[in-house]
């Protein structure tokens, strides 16, 4: 089975070369038969990659330690779920997952893109094939997951204990669906440049793909953030670590792309900019892959010290980013600019959004790469950490967040900012009220905290105002309003949900950072501690045994108002003997949207144990908000407009939007 997987991978590589060359030549020479090769080859390539991935997953599930990758990253005593997720919990396997998703997206275009112009479709598949070919070659040449060991070891070296978590099952696949999903936007852009024109079907295709990729990337980042939050044991949710930044940059650029694609689709303006943004977004995904995979970052994450991989990915990076930008410089002047608009208009608001988001992306990019540049050029070493990003990224986001509620309410072409401001009066009043209540009635609230809470309410109420205004609130009878509300396009709900989710995330961040409390102390069994009105009693440490670890469980009781036990919280220190590593399992009790978070430290000689305790108000909204944003993207995808094909091809209405889950 393993050899079958290896063979399938080699075949998939060869097919990706066919996928690159044959349709491209077909499109250039206008040969329909050559262009038609693209579709079946792409689908077959995906099937072979899937077979290859299944073979590796099978080797992991059955603990076949004759495979080097399995031996290094698995153990026979691991629970089955972690054996399977371990498939992509290592360099080789995660690269295989990367190409699996890449070929999957290619196959979707091949399968559902029958209403695209033939040459555009052929070019898109060719570009997608070229990306695939380089990464297949990278895997086969430098990171082969199917390398065998002879003689086969009896036992494996265990998966990194930190990765033995459900987070590994969700986070990387989601993140990759996002990262790699942007490859479709990239391929469409490059195909448009090769053809030298952007037509209507281009715009209609790029937006849903951006939405799909953005939705998964949002989920992937949020999941990673929550995972780090509960696994690392000190309750941080974002660290501005280079690896986090690597996933955050495509998200920021993708968010900008999402918004500029709206202008392009509705008003056929900003064409060239949207095209460039699509190229940049995937370039940042590639850069992220390079940063993480090559070990160039002097980060705890990058354990890879083998430069061959780094140089290889750098070549891929140069080829695609350099190639696409060169093509852009060559062809963009030929593309026609689109419609005109007044600066005060929906288009104008979206341009403003793009200005701030791209500046923020560039800030994160420069901050991430600056230490590397300084070291390479002058040999000096500097650090760029959270305080830098908070000081630069924060002020950039602030004005953007303030204008968010205006955007959807402004009219296309020429808007009336005063009329919009009038409609937003209620939202403004709500934000002001929230600010005053926070400032006056909550102990220890700083001016920043009050402003932050006000901003969050402004975003949430602004999103609701958008829905209310568009259903005719105050102008028509309630029954008509309800009917209008139900009849609103789904993309309107999508926008409102996404902006509302953003507000919730802001509220969560402000709540946690400004109103969180902390206590560090040593406790003996039976002792109680109070934190922000919650009383916890330490019941003692109890040893326990897991499948491949032993642990000391600290049991705590949350004392309710009546003096009884309201909840039990357990935090543990786990010892994994194979890797001789200890991990902390934090104890978390969710109360409403807030959480009580505790983790265990060292044991004292007198039987006491160090306990760190946090009260994190509204913290769950950080990820809840991201979830609402995802729901917004999903809602937009269900919009009828995105499912209907190009006007000339009404015969196949459901074909344009495969990922939308056509009902």
């Amino acid at each position: 089975m393993v050899e079958t997987g290896h063979f399938a991978l080699v075949l998939a590589f060869v097919l990706s070369l066919v996928q690159t060359l044959v349709p491209l030549i077909g499109a250039r020479t206008g040969n329909q038969r050559l262009m038609a090769v693209g579709g079946p080859v792409t689908v077959t390539g995906f099937a072979l990659t899937a077979l290859s991935f299944a073979a590796l997953a099978g080797a992991y599930a059955s603990s076949d330690f004759s495979v080097a990758s399995v031996w290094e990253n698995s153990h026979s005593l691991q629970p089955l779920i972690y054996k399977i997720t371990g498939t992509w919990g290592n360099h080789e396997g995660s690269m295989l997952l990367w190409v699996l998703i890449l070929t999957f997206f290619g196959a979707l275009v091949a399968a559902f893109g029958s209403n695209l112009p033939a040459t555009l479709r052929a070019n898109v598949l060719a570009v997608q094939g070229a990306i695939g070919a380089t990464f297949f070659l990278f895997i086969l040449a430098t990171s082969n997951p199917f390398t065998r060991l002879n003689p086969a070891p009896i036992e494996g070296r265990d998966l990194n204990p930190i990765l033995q978590d459900l987070g590994l099952a969700i986070h990387p696949p989601f993140l990759y669906l996002g990262y790699v999903g942007f490859s479709i936007c990239f391929s469409f852009s490059v195909a448009a440049l090769i053809e030298g024109r952007i037509d209507a079907s281009w715009a209609r295709w790029v937006r849903p793909w951006t939405l799909v990729a953005w939705m998964f990337l949002t989920g992937g980042i949020a999941m990673g953030s929550y995972w780090a939050y509960y696994e690392l044991g000190w309750g941080g949710f974002w660290f501005w670590d280079p690896v986090e930044n690597a996933s955050f940059m495509p998200w920021l650029a993708g968010t900008a792309l999402l918004h500029s694609a709206i202008v392009m689709e509705k008003r056929s303006a900003l064409k060239i900019w949207t095209l460039l943004l699509a190229i940049l977004t995937f370039s940042l995904s590639l850069l992220g892959t390079f940063l993480v995979r090559s070990g160039v970052l002097t980060s705890v994450h990058a354990f890879a010290t083998d430069p061959t991989r780094g140089v290889f990915i750098l070549c891929i990076l140069t080829l695609f980013i350099g190639g696409s930008l060169a093509l852009f410089a060559l062809r963009a002047p030929r593309l026609t600019a689109g419609g005109l608009f007044h600066p005060i208009s929906r288009e104008g608001a979206l341009v403003l959004n793009n200005l701030f988001l791209t500046t923020a992306t560039a800030t994160v990019l420069v901050g991430t790469l600056y230490p590397l540049a300084v070291e390479a050029l002058s040999g000096g070493k500097i650090s760029v950490g959270a305080p830098f990003f908070n000081l630069t990224f924060g002020p950039l986001m602030l004005p953007l967040l303030v204008v968010v509620p205006f955007g959807p309410l402004l009219a296309w072409k020429r808007g009336d900012v005063f009329a919009v401001a009038q409609r937003l009066m209620a939202a403004f009043a709500a934000a002001l009220l929230a600010m005053l209540v926070t400032g006056l009635f909550i102990d220890g609230a700083s001016v920043f905290a009050a402003l932050g809470v006000g901003l969050a309410f402004w975003l949430v109420c602004g999103a609701l105002t958008d829905l209310a205004v568009k259903s005719g609130f105050g102008n028509v009878a309630p029954s008509i309003m309800l009917r209008r509300f139900a009849g609103l396009p789904r993309s309107v709900f999508g926008t409102a949900l996404a902006h509302l989710g953003l507000g919730l995330t802001v509220l969560g961040i402000v709540g946690t950072l400004c109103f969180g409390t902390e206590k560090i102390l040593s406790m003996h069994a039976g002792e109680s501690v109070e934190l922000s009105g919650h009383t916890l009693r330490f019941e003692g440490l109890y040893p326990a045994q897991g499948p491949n670890y032993s642990e000391d469980r600290g049991r705590f009781s949350l004392i309710g108002a009546d003096g009884g036990i309201a909840a039990e919280i357990t935090s543990a220190k786990r010892f994994f003997p194979v890797r001789q590593m200890t991990t902390t399992e934090s104890g978390i009790e969710t109360l409403g949207f807030s959480q009580l978070y505790l983790s265990l430290g060292d044991e004292g000689t007198d039987g006491s144990v160090v306990v760190r305790l946090w009260w994190k108000p509204l913290v769950t909204l950080i990820w809840g908000g991201a979830f609402v944003m995802m729901a917004g993207a999903a809602m937009s995808l269900l919009d009828r407009r995105l499912r209907v094909g190009a006007p000339s091809r009404r015969r196949k209405p459901a074909a344009t939007m495969p990922s939308a889950g056509v009902p």
């Binding site: 290592n90 360099h91 986070h171 994450h301 104008g348 590593m581």
Partner: protein, 154 residues
């Protein structure tokens, strides 16, 4: 064979745990004066743990981080201002220890990027919309006017 655990993207964040169970500030380090302790925590968040990368000394469990935390607190108790404490630590460990790089010529591009980009981008947008609007409102040429008149009179 050396084991290279280059793990899936963000997943790697969790590897921070290699520094040990996250028990950064220990109870015996905490200063009695809450105001002084709060200042110490704030300063600690801006200082990098030199052995475990991308972690502040406030978050790190490494011995060196503990030494630095204690050093920060000693200086504060001795009456140093925040600035003096930071200067003292930079003089001993170099600028590498600062998580927020200083404003210096070497770091001008780092600090300047957001400002410059925002300005250049803003000016570019203003200029392009201006020129295109003036283009749009330009009067019709005689030829165009004639064509329009012809169409309207039909």
């Amino acid at each position: 064979m050396s084991a290279r655990f280059s793990l899936a993207s963000l997943v790697l964040l969790l590897a921070l745990l290699f520094a040990g169970a996250a028990q950064a500030v220990k109870p015996d380090e905490v200063l009695a004066d809450p105001a002084l302790e709060a200042r110490a925590r704030l300063l600690s968040e801006g200082l990098r743990c030199m052995v475990c990368q991308n972690q502040s000394i406030d978050e790190s469990d490494a011995d060196l981080a503990r030494d630095l935390r204690i050093l920060v607190r000693q200086r504060l108790v001795a009456g140093d201002t925040d600035r003096q404490v930071m200067d003292y630590i930079v003089s001993r460990y170099g600028e590498f220890v600062l998580l927020k790089p200083r404003f210096s010529p070497r770091n001008s591009l780092l600090w300047g990027t957001p400002v410059i980009l925002l300005l250049v981008g803003g000016i570019f947008i203003v200029l392009t919309t201006r020129s295109r609007r003036s283009l749009a409102t330009k009067a019709l040429s005689a030829e165009e006017q004639a064509a329009l008149d012809r169409m309207l009179s039909d």
